[in-house]
Symmetry: D5
């Protein structure tokens, strides 16, 4: 553990957050998400739910203020306008914690998978609620 850093951020996750640059993205995904074979490094966080990881990540990571969609969720299959409970919670965390809060945008399921393949890493949480996935784009620190 370290002073002033949320201890649910593991060494691997802290490394990748620090190594990411402007425009790089991070995926935080639920316990059912196919994360291990997707391509990017998979960082396990089986004992944490997705909102706790999101809150901890946003305490260190600036969202990209220069794009319209620095936070993206997976659209509900067949109900693209639905807002799953987990996503509503993500939005609340962003409002509360992010340096530049934005509305979460959504992507169709398989488009979300494609986008997640370009992430710097995928954090697999123990989130049990469906659609508990979010993609964040890192901004600039002036």
């Amino acid at each position: 553990m370290l002073l002033n850093i949320d201890p649910i951020l593991s060494p691997d996750l802290l490394f990748i957050l620090r190594a990411m640059g402007h425009g790089d993205s991070l995926a935080i995904v639920d316990a059912n998400f196919p994360a291990e074979g997707l391509g990017p490094k998979c960082i396990r966080a089986d004992g944490s739910d997705a909102t706790a990881i999101l809150r901890a990540v946003l305490s260190l990571l600036p969202l990209d203020a220069k794009v319209a969609d620095p936070a993206i969720c997976m659209a509900v299959v067949g109900e693209p306008d639905a807002v799953p409970e987990a996503v509503a919670d993500f939005q609340a965390v962003i409002q509360e914690v992010a340096d530049t809060p934005r509305d979460i945008q959504s992507l169709e399921r398989f488009a979300f998978y494609e986008r997640a393949k370009t992430a710097s890493a995928v954090v697999q949480t123990g989130e049990r609620r469906l659609y508990g996935n979010i993609l964040l784009t890192k901004g600039v620190i002036g």
Copy 2:
């Protein structure tokens, strides 16, 4: 996740539990324990407390019924007879879950480190309570 298996057991932890044999040991340690450079593979479980991991582990792992000390904790420095709160909880979990419950034995701090170096793996939990460490020895399945 898998049916009938506690989802806080990550792929790496499930692998090592299955690979261990009679007499092999597993260390479950708290968030302050020097686990990464100890020698055995370190499996991160930053989002779980030690009792939750212990409970999940004992749902799959038999304790060694042939030795007197299949469960060992670290003695409090300067107070070898004290029973820290985390250890009391470990004992309760063992009574409730283990196939062959035994009293937890204790080892002096540096002797505990030496013993942990011989473990098959060290699981670093997010346990915040001091002395939240336990060493388990695997038994036989008949």
Copy 3:
């Protein structure tokens, strides 16, 4: 070995089953199948027949209830409607064990190879009967 888990599931196979997510697939193949150089990790199970592995896998792995073909076999070359004995046994195991039983669909031999290349792993069994191959897609655990 572990309590409550079929011991023919090796550490590697248990790891991959746990690491797989929604939509990932696993191939269980017979002793003549060209598994080692196919692409995915090849897990050896030379001493088990395919139905025993299927039964053990389905005790832990949910089938994907959201697709029409969560279980796929290889069509007999030249007799696409034939049901080989091994496949009939697979269907019986699925009926008995799977959480959401479905009819096994079939794919032409080379299409089956292509699909198997996208699996998370290929389990090479000692199954001696021809066409003793099956592809499973993992579902969601709610």
Copy 4:
């Protein structure tokens, strides 16, 4: 599979049998044996019992005719003269199959572990009977 070779011998096991020379040893162990972290490469054979593996191995491997103990088992703890059922079966297989049959010698449990650490490989079978372990020393082919 190959012509004239028992198919329960996996590629890894065939490799090691062929690579071994005069005086090298192989351990065939039961499902409870602590094989993975012992030191030598661990070859999984979870779906086979130890006698089947022994029979297949002896179809290819000559026993060392120049030493008194080319086949060694683990002595029963507390009953050094007991002959466990698995060991009796091993002796029968050796009588039937080995090129130069010898009486199996026994070693105390921890001495057996030490000896197994010097083996070229350890084959972990699915043998459920206790004391289902045997160490073989390879002989010369003239």
Copy 5:
């Protein structure tokens, strides 16, 4: 060395023969063939000629009875109908040893290279005669 197995089959070659499945191929090539950088694993057999390796391989490997060209040689450049001495010897070995003898088919030099790139391995022999190359496709063991 092993009982009943030709000792010119090295551990690596035995491994790959055992690991190959139905439809996988093996290239046995002469001493001038560009084998090391071709792509597949290159197994050295500098001290053996190609016919000796072919004979040893066919003692274990079934040819694919379901295709027209389970054995392919390289056509002589500029004389596609010529039968080099090495190829005539290969045909004689196949007639004598293979479980299902077939006529060797031929491929133009660069087409042969392309086909060899898909082999499970390339065995580089010490064969000094030109055109001493053959590609074998593995069959099924019933």
Copy 6:
């Protein structure tokens, strides 16, 4: 870069600080120190002086309050009581920043090398002043 974390802490250094546990140590050394081949991982910080790294490290790392020497410098050869300018600066930084300030203890040159070999990592700074080396022991976070 990350919010609220000194950007001279590189991804590797942040990783190791987070991974260290109670009693693990970190060496921060000057530009002449023989760091690369010492044994522990060497983390380059050629563009920073040692005091800047020390200040950044102590903003995250608690010193061990349970030992007498959580901060150790190298004694001047031949003048064991001298306090080099760099060490005086280290002491000032500790007084200002550390959670539990302690007097820096000193070790003879070769004893310091031996102790540094047990560190979790060695940070090689661009510090040009001689004796610009310090060993820190990590404490507990309650």
Copy 7:
């Protein structure tokens, strides 16, 4: 450190500068640049600003006198003709130090990323000013 070589050039950076040939390029980037996952090896220089690294690099590296753009910066988004302060400083360093000074050319942001992917390495500095990035092409030493 070495005689006559700027000590902010780390071993890795010195290696790559020496290994580069005519026409190879090096990217020196600011602290916000997405360097770690870009493709080329990322060399950390968190404690140095970009102009200091540029000056040190040009003391050893000849610019390519045979191309029009041996030094390239990233154009300001939306203001392609603007000259950021960092770039003005880069130009001054080039005028002062380079063996064959040239005007820095500019590339649109994403074109700059594509070009940087072909660099021999990316040096991530601690440069805090935006647009503190430069790509250098190595010339010939006669």
Copy 8:
């Protein structure tokens, strides 16, 4: 060193010369050539000029007598018919040493780079003269 082999041929270079087959090529390049990141293994020969390496290589390597261009140099940029001094020396060495001397052909600079990417290895010499590069294709030994 070895008897009868030029000692400027290092172990790595001897290995690759021996491993190459009919039609494989080797690039011998000057000190300014961008060799390290080109793709093929780069073998350093910083202390030798290109003609010395060429002479040593041709003492062991047969040139391909079946192609028109077993030796290729880089055309002078803007003067495709010029014959640089280094190339004239290469031609003299080939006349003197090669088993089947041929006129060196030339390729435009970037076409030469593309061809060099397909070489089995690139030998980077200390040749200081510009255009001191040559690509050799290995022939057959009857």
Copy 9:
């Protein structure tokens, strides 16, 4: 293959012969020798007998003229003065080929194993005759 070099010397063997220096040794061993797990790199030469390899090696490798035992064989167990046929052949090859012929000395079996563990490599030949092992020490080339 290469001009003027015996083609039974594989790329790996040529590499190690060239890399060895004064006082380094090479073991050439028979087909029963326990070579793979001994420690040094094992180079396979299954298709060659030991005398052929010895002859090829001595065409390149000088024997150490400064020691009394540059060539050592394994003494026959129980008959230390016997000269096995293979050793007699080795002596004849040395007389004929070596630059500085010496009488082969002998070492007891297990002492020979210990000495072979210090060799730069072990060449496992297909030599079928017992005691077909020899250790060579490399000399100086003036």
Copy 10:
């Protein structure tokens, strides 16, 4: 190549010289020295003689002014007081180039080997003269 750096210093050698610290040593050895298997990384410089490498190394590396033997050669076997020609040349180079010239000390042959095992690297030159070996200890840059 780089400006102002002797081009016989390869990327690997430049890396190690820069990475070495106070008290680390470098061995420069002749063509007969057993360098590859000694332990430290072996850097090939087959095309350069030892004095040229020594001169280039000393243009960058300070000798340790705090020890009596920053430069050590191997004593002639049987003539410990002899000064081989190569060593006389080394002394002349040191006098001419080193920042703090010292008399070269000598060590008995096997003691020299032991000392060389502790070097940061061994540079194997093409030096043909016997006893062309020297060990240098790096000093401090103030």
